[in-house]
C-alpha cells in the first residue's frame, strides 16, 4: 500500500471542515440536546444516554461513509479522476484510500461520542467500547459501497440533498432517532432490513450482549453485496464515458 498517498488523502479529509458537519457536529449536538435533557431516564433497562449514544454513533458514522460520495463526485467534476488515470494508481488503491479516510472520520465520530457520553455519566469498559466499535466498523461496509455508488451517480451540486436526505431517511428507518415500528408489522420489518438498524443494534454490546444475531449478519452481508455490485457498475459506467 502507498502510505504517502494514503497520508495525504487522510490529511485532506481532516482539512475539509464542511464534511464534518453531518458526521461530527450534528450527532454531537443532538446527543447533548436529547440525551442531556433525559440523562436520568432509562429505556428497556438501559440508561437513555447509553441508548442514544449508539443511535447518534450510527447516524454520524453512516454520514461519514456516505460522504465518500461527495469527495468522489467533487474529484470527478474537476477532472481529477482523469488525471489519476494517467498514473499507475490502481482503482482499487484509490477506493481503498477513500474508504479508509471515511473510516477515519467514522472513528473520530465514535471517539468523540464516547467522550461526550462520559461527560453525561455513560461509563463503559474498554472491552465494551471496543466491541461496539468493531461491530460498527463491520456494519459500515455497505455504507462505504453506498458512498462509492452515489459518488459516481451524482454531481457535487446534488450531493447535499442526496447525502442529507439519504442519511436522514436511513437514520429514521433504522431507528437512529428512536425505535421505529414497534415489535412487529411492516414498518418493523422494513426497519430491520436496513443496514442502519444493525448499526444501531450494535449498542447491545454496551450493556453486555454479544451483538448481532444471524439476521443482522445476513442483512449486512446482503447490502454489502448488492451495493458493492451497484458501485462497481456505476464506476465502470462512469469511466467508459470519459
Amino acid at each position: 500500500m502507498n502510505l504517502t498517498y494514503l497520508r495525504y488523502e487522510l490529511i485532506r479529509s481532516v482539512r475539509n471542515k464542511r464534511a464534518f458537519i453531518f458526521s461530527l457536529l450534528f450527532p454531537l449536538i443532538f446527543f447533548y440536546l436529547i440525551a442531556g435533557s433525559n440523562r436520568h431516564v432509562t429505556l428497556d433497562g438501559v440508561p437513555f444516554a447509553t441508548y442514544y449514544l449508539a443511535g447518534m454513533a450510527s447516524f454520524g458514522t453512516m454520514a461519514a461513509m456516505i460522504s465518500l460520495g461527495a469527495k468522489i463526485a467533487a474529484e470527478r467534476s474537476v477532472g481529477w479522476n482523469r488525471q489519476l488515470r494517467l498514473t499507475p494508481l490502481s482503482t482499487r488503491a484509490y477506493m481503498r484510500a477513500k474508504v479508509l479516510s471515511g473510516y477515519l472520520t467514522a472513528l473520530l465520530t465514535l471517539a468523540l461520542l464516547f467522550l461526550a457520553g462520559a461527560t453525561l455519566g455513560v461509563h463503559l469498559s474498554a472491552t465494551r467500547v471496543l466491541h461496539m466499535t468493531g461491530l460498527v466498523l463491520v456494519g459500515l461496509i455497505p455504507f462505504a459501497a453506498l458512498g462509492i455508488l452515489v459518488g459516481h451517480l451524482f454531481t457535487p451540486d446534488s450531493m447535499g440533498p442526496v447525502i442529507g436526505g439519504g442519511v436522514s431517511i436511513l437514520a429514521f428507518l433504522g431507528g437512529s432517532w428512536g425505535p421505529v415500528g414497534g415489535d412487529h408489522g411492516v414498518l418493523h420489518n422494513v426497519s430491520q432490513a436496513t443496514p442502519t438498524y444493525w448499526l444501531v443494534q450494535a449498542r447491545s454490546t454496551l450493556v453486555g450482549a454479544s451483538g448481532w444475531d444471524t439476521k443482522g449478519w445476513i442483512v449486512i452481508a446482503t447490502w454489502t453485496v448488492v451495493l458493492g455490485v451497484l458501485a462497481a457498475w456505476a464506476f465502470r459506467r462512469d469511466t467508459s464515458r470519459i
Binding site: 485532506r12 477532472g79 481529477w80 488525471q83 494517467l86 498514473t87 499507475p88
Partner: protein
C-alpha cells in the same frame, strides 16, 4: 479549388512516407520502439467522426506539435494516446506498449486541456502525493523549481490563480519523470510572459532526450517550439513536416486584385506564387514570397487594380489544405 502542393513541401501521403522510411532504416531501433505509433486510428462520438483514420509515427526525442483549429480531432487523438478514450478502430502504441501499460510504467506525463487541482493540499503536498504514485519520480524540489512554483509551494491549491494552477498542472505532468510528455493546449490560460517561461522549461525538459507532443491552435507556438508539425483538420492529418516548412505554407500571404480576362494558368507561373484562383472579376494569388509576386504581377499585368495584400490566417490555410471552401463547416 486547385492548388499545387508539391513545392518543397512534405505532405502527409506523398513525401512524408518516403522520408520516414529513410529515417527508420537508418536507425532500426526506432522502428521497434517508436515513441508513439498510431495506426489507422478512428473514433466517433455519436454521429461525429472526431478522428478519421490517423496514421502517425513519432520517434523518441522528437518535439511534435499537433496543430489545428478547434474540432480538428487533436484532443481526441491525445485522449487515445493516453488511454483515456478507446479507439473505434486502429491501434495505439506508446514505446511499444499499450497506453495502459505505458501509464503503469510511469512513462507518460500529461497536462490535459481541462481539469482543476485536488483541494485541501498545499502545492508541495500535492506534488509529493503524485510523486509517490510513480516508480522513478523526479525529486519534488526539482519539479517545483523547473516549473517555477517554488514560491507557491506552501499555498493551498484552491487559492491559486489560473496561471499558477497551470504551472502546478505542468509540475504534475513532469513529476513522474516521463519519457513522453503530452500537453493539450497547455498555454490557453497563460499570459505572454508566462507562456514564454512555460515553454522555456518544457524545452529544457525536451533537451534531456524526452519526447514531447503538444496540441495547439497557435501557429506561432507550433513554429517556435516544435521540430515537427502535424497539421490536423476534421479528424485527419492534412500535413506533416518540419516546423519551418509548415510555417512557410500556412503562413502564406495572399494578393487579391481585380484583373478580368486573364487565365489563371498564366498567374500560377509568376515568381513567388504558389497557387491562384478566380473569384469573378478578381483573382487571388497564394504567395510564398509576396514581395516577388507583387512585382511580377505588376510587371506582367499592369492592368491589375484594387490590390490587397494580406497574411493568410491559419483558418484560411486549413481551408486550402483540406481543399475545401466551405468555411462555415470549420467554425
Amino acid at each position: 479549388m486547385s492548388w499545387p502542393m508539391d513545392d518543397g513541401l512534405h505532405w502527409a501521403q506523398s513525401r512524408r512516407g518516403g522520408q520516414y522510411r529513410a529515417m527508420t532504416t537508418a536507425t532500426d531501433q526506432r522502428t521497434t520502439t517508436a515513441g508513439i505509433r498510431l495506426a489507422s486510428l478512428s473514433k466517433s462520438y455519436g454521429s461525429v467522426l472526431a478522428v478519421d483514420g490517423v496514421d502517425l509515427v513519432i520517434a523518441p526525442g522528437e518535439t511534435v506539435a499537433l496543430l489545428g483549429p478547434n474540432g480538428a480531432g487533436k484532443s481526441t487523438t491525445i485522449d487515445m494516446i493516453l488511454g483515456l478514450a478507446k479507439p473505434d478502430t486502429g491501434s495505439v502504441q506508446v514505446f511499444g506498449m499499450t497506453p495502459a501499460d505505458a501509464v503503469r510504467a510511469g512513462a507518460i506525463g500529461a497536462m490535459l486541456q481541462t481539469g482543476q487541482l485536488l483541494r485541501d493540499l498545499t502545492v508541495r503536498e500535492l506534488i509529493t502525493m503524485m510523486a509517490s504514485l510513480y516508480p522513478n519520480p523526479m525529486a519534488v524540489g526539482d519539479v517545483l523549481e523547473v516549473t517555477g512554483v517554488t514560491d507557491l509551494a506552501d499555498r493551498r491549491t484552491q487559492k491559486l490563480s489560473g496561471g499558477q494552477t497551470q504551472r502546478v498542472r505542468a509540475a504534475i505532468a513532469l513529476v513522474s519523470n516521463p519519457d513522453l510528455l503530452i500537453l493539450d493546449e497547455p498555454t490557453v490560460a497563460m499570459d505572454v510572459e508566462m507562456r514564454r517561461e512555460f515553454w522555456t522549461s518544457m524545452r529544457e525538459f525536451a533537451a534531456r532526450g524526452k519526447t514531447v507532443v503538444f496540441a495547439t491552435h497557435y501557429l506561432e507556438e507550433a513554429d517556435s517550439y516544435a521540430d515537427r508539425v502535424v497539421l490536423m483538420a476534421r479528424g485527419r492529418i492534412v500535413a506533416d513536416g518540419p516546423a519551418t516548412e509548415i510555417k512557410a505554407t500556412v503562413g502564406l500571404r495572399t494578393i487579391k486584385a481585380t484583373l478580368p480576362n486573364v487565365p489563371i494558368a498564366s498567374l500560377t507561373g509568376l515568381d513567388g506564387v504558389q497557387g491562384a484562383d478566380r473569384r469573378g472579376e478578381s483573382v487571388v494569388l497564394h504567395c510564398s514570397d509576396s514581395d516577388a509576386a507583387i512585382r511580377a504581377l505588376l510587371r506582367e499585368f499592369p492592368a491589375a487594380s484594387d490590390i490587397e495584400i494580406a497574411g493568410a490566417g491559419l483558418e484560411e490555410a486549413f481551408l486550402l489544405l483540406t481543399g475545401d471552401d466551405k468555411s462555415e463547416e470549420l467554425s
